[in-house]
Subunit: 230 residues, 4 copies
């Protein structure tokens, strides 16, 4: 797969015009006698806004960041990866259906690095070709796509539109940037984070693996980045 | 309350740049072999997009509209109203706290029309004045705001930043535009709907009371707009 | 797979002692001056309880049935099926991990009826055997299970503990008992419904495909059970 | 209010027959090749089950405890308290409606201790009496209950049936057992915890304020129970 080196393909297609200002207005509304529309309209001092937002987040008041939704398009991730991703129940997903979309020719698939390094790549590619042939044979004999796909492997890629608010985004980063996370989802989430941080650099402090937020590692096997809790 | 005629105060402070295009990309992703970023970038024909989106919504596939979040500022609604509003668990809220914000002088409050029409307004206003005096007396004697507020009435207003995705928005409209809904929440939700429809007129078909969506009234007591289901 | 005729394997391992009484207490609490504990303790007349509950459900007040949670164990369903199931975001899942559980010998898999009927079964079984051999070969060469599984097919089975409240249960039945739903998930949800109905026969009226609840079919292609909405 | 010393009134009316066994089956399902129904049926060693469950919870894998739902009846809490409680969006609520239930005579209300200690109790009681008289007068003149209630204070009590799974229960305890939480909700949640711990003593370790779970205090103003994070 020639494009694979860029996989997964992640793009940020929609986000609020001004996340910091939105969050600031939300935070101030809780503690102010002023109308929120006035707070919103008078909010111009980025430094002051950021200072308040950081203080509120430090005290664990995370509902204030739910008002910012990010929408991503994602392609070139395996169904193994998407089966994990869709477990994030605070996210919204629109995923390419293997029931309704019939694969033509060799389907797109992911080859894990460990398989390449162990010298299995040629055998793996051949396996995928054989699988595609069997799939196509069944389709040609009138087997519906939703049943023929039973032979398609976890490696086959999928595409999604996925959206999440900033609270869930931080949670996603905390869980999936951990070195124990599956390799593809880790790269995919890293790309999502980078795209958001590119727009708002102050997010870099929050879109981090959980050990950075906790100050220690709570995994059974750690990677050494942070000390494990005893 | 001189401003009351404009109550509640509702403003739309953030929404996606292009809801229709976002929803179209989500719908197409489910049924297309193309990458969603390509679908997104090539989507230019509004009429075609709208046609697909309407067909998908008609078939009940509502997860596709979760990718559009609307953020509102709301003021001048009673705590009676907000206690109902915050029951919408798919929404996000940042609400003015009566624990942390101390009322100064006469608090802002709502007077229901039925109370005005029955000639109780003067007595009602006097009651609110007396309540404010008692509240202030307790505050001045060192009672914390969070306890002094136990005398504040349901009529006292609150402010919020509230956000919701389009799926929940349609649900909110379905439930709260019904003539059986509480009067304030009905006006507030109507204003929210009008602000969204102003931006995207095609939403007018969806941001309606549930009887319009169902084709009949499922309330125990109907208003006659649609026939009741027998 | 000799056990396949019984697949999927579904068991109900936990549910409330008295769902009807729980829902009745919830419904009455909304409209009564009495304490809910008194309502609960004095609720003995099943017929009266059922009458109220049916009336409340008919008026769309479905939050009252969220107080009843059902817990199921599920095995013998394909990963194609579970990828759909876990999209129900109001459910809770604990699923067998292909990252942490290494398959030994020939993995368990599902063969769709259309594949059997078209005479592909022998070729399908051989394909699965070859896949298991390649998987095992990679495992033996030190490829981690989480990467070797990239060759495992959608047909491979999974196991879960899955729980949901009655509101989501009715939604699940509405969507997944439809003849357009994927065949396995339809059988699985049917078994879940039957187990609950066995305990509380009055649920039979609610655990039905959506066309029964709507009175018409809202699918693009219907099965003829109910007339399609024009 | 003579009953007040026992307020709030909290009862546990429904819970799983065996939470530990349910959670153990969920945890084991993730890491076992065995069918979950077999894991469930063979689970008899409480000590072994508890050991695994504690290890899984320590590693942050909290979805496994969502399979246990607790249902409570609650009375004798102020509307100030319930407005906070219903912000827990993972909980389910059925609450007494002030729109549909008309108060007769003096409504039930809460008197905060600070008001008693400052010598305001007589004035407070008189205020409540006057409020009840005004409310009743409006009701008698045909004002609907939903509008007359605009004069009812935050102090007026409410009743609910409330349910939550164990994951949300631990979150609720973490947040609401904090000494900075509002006094009523703290006592109410403490009673909920005590009722659950009475059934399963091992829960005592988890149904604690957040500082116990974090090892430090993340509030802006701490109570000294745990050192504050600097």
């Amino acid at each position: 797969m020639t494009q694979e080196k860029e996989f997964p393909i992640v793009n940020l297609i929609s986000m609020p015009e001004n996340p910091l200002k939105t969050i600031y207005a939300a935070c101030r509304t809780c503690y102010s006698a002023d109308y929120p529309i006035n707070i919103w309209e008078n909010a111009t001092d980025n430094e002051k806004m950021l200072k308040l937002v950081k203080r509120v987040l430090a005290s664990g008041h995370h509902s204030t960041i739910e008002h910012c939704q990010y929408v991503f398009t994602i392609s070139g991730v395996s169904r193994a990866c998407t089966h994990q991703l869709v477990r994030h129940r605070h996210m919204s997903f629109s995923q390419k259906s293997q029931r309704y979309v019939t694969e033509k020719g060799l389907f797109e698939y992911i080859t894990p690095n460990t398989i390449k390094k162990a010298g299995f790549e040629a055998e793996y590619d051949e396996f995928m070709n054989k699988t595609a042939e069997f799939y196509e044979k069944m389709i040609n004999q009138g087997i519906p796509a939703e049943d023929a796909r039973f032979v398609l492997p976890n490696a086959a890629t999928s595409s999604l539109v996925a959206s999440l608010n900033l609270r869930e985004f931080i949670h996603l980063a905390n869980i999936r940037l951990c070195t124990n996370a599956q390799h593809e989802i880790r790269i995919m989430v890293k790309k999502m984070c980078d795209l958001a941080i590119e727009k708002d650099s102050w997010l870099a402090e929050y879109l981090v693996p959980k050990c950075e937020a906790l100050g220690h590692c709570d995994e059974i096997r750690g990677c050494g980045r942070k000390p494990q809790k005893i």
